[in-house]
Symmetry: C3
């Protein structure tokens, strides 16, 4: 599907830009910015492909990912102070990114005959691990562990995909419905600042 | 050997619980807790399998690891405030975990025709790397680099295994004797707070 | 080429020593020092080989890397307080290390029929990632993201190699010229404290 490939590239652009912004806030030099943009954008798919032994891995098999990352860093370098005004656009691209990464990762897992649970995890790794790597390399506790129902949105979308797939829905329907699930959960959770429960107390703790 | 598989699962449970406890102390949400429990429990075996090209890797090839991790997180979620009372049991499980992980990792390395030194390192990676990943992802200096004769216990047990293996001891003997070595060193070192020497001074430093 | 192998081992020794020094400054025990020396020295080549599916990976296929790392840690353990006097020698070895690692990594990438850009990235990963791992495991922001034209030197040397290769220069010439490029850039940039530009301001920021 041509459209999905375009969305994949848009998502890669958004992820690379988010990495470049974090790295430049940390006063990394141009090279450090490139590396952080790179791992943020393709780190998830790279880990997935190494774990399921899918060679050549994502960015080695298709150079468009690299070119997109170079473009995103160039874009950040030129327009950094303007990107704040684009935050809604970037949020949109980013949300597109996690949707597409989740679903393409899941699909690849199924194509490799993995158990659906494992394929689901591969989808989530694809969407989430780039951001984790970005945070580890910039010496922060990964954002995803603390805030936002980011990963939960991917999880819900992935499960939607698997359920519809059981009922042999056509691929276009699978993608559209699952993407809507991810986007809606993400937007709603960010808008209303929802959070997952934490293991602070347990059933037996007195309030 | 059936028993070893049961011990492997017990060890996985202990490692996952230790990861879940660290993550919930850091106020991670449920999803973050799951990820940390996951990498703590299967991170070592996962790295080993990627390095020696053993596909499908551990948790992809056997779903029982995933189910055990889910159970451990559920258990931590319910009983967190009670686990303090179980610290001796958890320490026992954890010690079982490092023993079994070390010896199974080493055995897998030998089965892949690796040099004994490399197989030994694979055993240690299996036992130790999950905890390292847990600490890196929660932004701490890995505990293992600073305290406890944790890794040394694995090393001594692994060497015992290799030496007995040279003399063609039966597998049951290999496992039992090597496990005893690991457990005894671990328990003794924790009880007496032993530490490895550090490179603070050298031969020529005047005291 | 025999000479290149000798330089590869010298570079491994220098990288392992640099790792051992950082780890002992952090008061790691002997085991922690060994691990940090290990990842610093072979981490880059290990990641490269995993990404391009080159098994057995570097230190598994050739035990001399391990022996060199053991020797470097032993050397650091004995002579730590003296190494300060050897800083110029160590800087030389280290610079040899990044040159040889870059060029051998690039060459391996080409031998695996990778696109030249990807092969270039493989060369840089070989040279740079060990130090990144060292810094992540000791909970520091990777040095390379903030200072020194370290990676840029590798990049320039790698590009030199690729350009000369296009003109079918003999391997000895390729290596010598590219190495000179890397060494000169590194030495000059350290001496004059050059830095890459940062993304602080953009084209539209008023000064």
């Amino acid at each position: 599907m041509e459209l999905i490939y375009v969305l994949d590239i848009l998502g890669t652009f958004a992820f690379a830009t988010s990495g470049a912004l974090v790295a430049s806030d940390k006063k990394f030099d141009l090279f450090g910015v490139l590396i952080i943009a790179f791992v943020t954008a393709v780190g998830g798919g790279m880990l997935r492909d190494v774990l399921i032994n899918a060679h050549p891995i994502n960015w080695i098999g298709d150079l468009n990912y690299l070119y997109t990352i170079f473009a995103a860093v160039f874009f950040t370098f030129l327009f950094k102070s303007k990107i704040a005004y684009l935050s809604k656009t970037m949020f949109l691209f980013d949300t597109i990114g996690i949707s597409v990464f989740t679903l393409l990762g899941l699909e690849k897992g199924l194509a490799f005959n993995l158990h659906p649970i494992v394929a689901l995890i591969m989808g989530m790794i694809s969407a989430v691990f780039g951001g984790v790597l970005r945070d580890v390399l910039t010496n922060k506790i990964p954002l995803i562990f603390e805030k936002e129902i980011y990963a939960s949105a991917c999880l819900a979308g992935g499960i939607t995909y698997l359920v519809l797939n059981e009922f042999s829905a056509p691929q276009a329907v699978l993608f559209v419905v699952s993407t809507i699930v991810i986007v809606v959960i993400r937007v709603v959770s960010v808008r209303f600042e929802l959070e997952l429960p934490k293991i602070k107390d347990d059933l037996f703790t007195k309030k």
